[in-house]
């Protein structure tokens, strides 16, 4: 299954990169050339990658936890299709505001033979990263016309990718109530929440940050001499992707890098630094260039005076706490339950809890100091921000369970 994980990650990265290169380099409107080069690009990349990586695509006999995850995965998949059947156009404001409008603009300008434009100034969030729009564009242009099912298929692909990460991790895990509870949450509650609201746009970023956590743990658990360079490459490109999927990626990448350098021994691994630092450097440069071109850099700015006032405004904390207590929806307090279990009953590798806690704390801080109407922002944003932290929390809880029940 490890082979599938690598294969998926590399291809998910390839789609936007190939899409951007083709849009920049080939004459607009030449659909045949686009299709031909897409095919050649995909085949060449995969042949080179498979030869170099020597991946093992064997699937061993699954254990009981893995079987449960497969069943839960299909139930979650049904939830996704159920939701799309209720709202056939798929996605909500976030999905359209951030992804669909952008990918359709790229596709339409290309097919109409117009020059490629990286940013359209009338986008609702022109500075928002374009990893996902470019991925969707890649499929849409190859289809030859706008297909309403591609965004849904992309969401399903990310869900499958998330499943592969967890399925891969479950191979060494012991049976227990906690993993069962976590699997049900991961594959039933999360897809329902993400599918039932605009959080479709948040699912990919949390999936990639899960991949980062997965590889940090994998590398840290291996001795310096036995570390696989493939894992290091995977960690680096996962971090690269996190930076370019959503604006929150900068926060998530910052937290995971901080954890990597402060709390793990990976900072002294020269091989790791040789690959990680240039990849991140490239990722940051591209992000800065994109933000510089954009007419708006960030969604909101806040002055030090406003921060000071908002921090000492206790009403703002009440709004957040009330929302947390009474708008749990499907999460069913599982964040506090899982967090308490990890904090109080797990000893080994407990430091990993710092990642989801830091994510939650940063988002909590943002919702306190926000310059938008706070109640509106809490209602529209806190649920999806909480889901990002949840996805990581569940994976961390599985890691801790495995470490504490060897």
């Amino acid at each position: 299954m490890y082979g599938f994980l690598n294969f998926f990650t590399f291809n998910l990265i390839l789609f936007p990169v190939l899409s951007l290169l083709l849009l920049l380099l080939i004459p607009p409107g030449n659909l045949l050339l686009f299709r031909l080069l897409s095919f050649i690009g995909l085949v060449t990349w995969n042949i080179l990658f498979l030869k170099k990586f020597k991946l093992d695509f064997k699937i061993n006999k699954p254990n009981s936890m893995q079987i449960l995850s497969v069943i839960a995965f299909f139930a979650g998949l049904y939830a996704i299709f159920f939701r799309f059947s209720l709202q056939p156009e798929g996605g909500s404001w976030d999905a359209f505001g951030m992804w669909n409008v952008k990918s359709r603009d790229y596709m339409e300008t290309f097919l109409n033979g117009e020059r490629f434009k990286l940013i359209f100034s009338d986008w609702v969030n022109p500075s928002y990263p374009i990893f996902i729009p470019l991925s969707i564009t890649f499929f849409q242009i190859n289809m030859g016309e706008w297909n309403y099912y591609i965004p849904m298929m992309y969401h399903t692909m990310i869900y499958l990718f998330h499943f592969i990460i967890i399925f891969n991790f479950l191979k060494d895990i012991k049976k227990g109530i906690l993993p069962v509870y976590l699997i049900l949450n991961i594959f039933l509650i999360l897809p329902i929440i993400t599918s039932a609201s605009n959080q479709i746009a948040d699912f990919p970023i949390s999936t990639f940050i899960c991949l980062v956590v997965y590889f940090i743990h994998k590398l840290e658990s291996t001795s310096l001499d036995n570390r696989d360079s493939r894992d290091i490459i995977m960690l680096s490109i996962a971090l690269f992707a996190v930076l370019h999927i959503k604006e929150e990626g900068m926060i998530l990448a910052g937290i995971s890098l901080g954890f990597l350098f402060i709390f793990t021994n990976l900072r002294s691994d020269k091989n790791l630094l040789k690959i990680l630092i240039p990849t991140l450097f490239l990722g940051i440069i591209l992000l800065v260039v994109y933000k510089k071109i954009s007419p708006v850099t960030l969604q909101f700015t806040v002055t030090p005076k406003e921060i000071w006032e908002h921090i000492f405004d206790w009403k703002r904390y009440t709004v957040l706490m009330k929302y947390y207590l009474y708008h749990q929806q499907l999460i069913l307090y599982s964040d506090i339950i899982v967090l308490s279990l990890c904090l109080f009953f797990m000893r080994a590798k407990r430091k990993y809890i710092l990642i989801p806690i830091s994510i939650s704390l940063v988002y909590f801080g943002i919702l306190i100091i926000t310059t938008f109407n706070q109640e509106w922002q809490v209602i529209t944003a806190s649920g999806r921000l909480q889901t990002q932290a949840l996805q990581v929390l569940y994976l961390v809880a599985l890691i801790l369970y495995e470490e504490n029940n060897p």
Binding site: S92, V101, T109, F120, D122, I192, A196, Q329, L332, L343
Partner: protein, 157 residues
Amino acid sequence: MKFLLKFTTIFQNTGATAFWIVALFCILYSHKIYKKLVFGFDFINSEYKLKEKDPGFEVNYYRELKIARAYKNCNSSVTLYSNIPNDYFKVYGVFDMLDERVITRYIFSPCSVRVRKEELQEIESDLTLIHISHPDFKKAKTMQNSFVTGDFIIFKN
């Protein structure tokens, strides 16, 4: 007895006590939680049922915009006259619905979209759309060069 002893030792640890407080809290709220469980399908369904006060409005709105686009494509801009309340698309709560500007921008991609609530005016754009919610809809129906698609009147410029 053994069980009781084990049970009491659980509470000797402060961390464990905190956990049991949380657990108790969850048990107390279990009736609320139960309502929202059933794998969430009921929950999604109930949110969807809110649409029943105007069945299929959003889907129709979306579909009709697609018809409008199929009728006449744009080159650079579209003007949309409508008077749908700003919060109309947001009544569905969980689905966090789209707003007019984003939907129209998406359907007429990559043309820019101006949404106007004011009276009809001469504005330079490839296409002018008037939604049924706009007060001038009836007046516009009688105008020349118009094409009616149910809830929209389209003017080619």
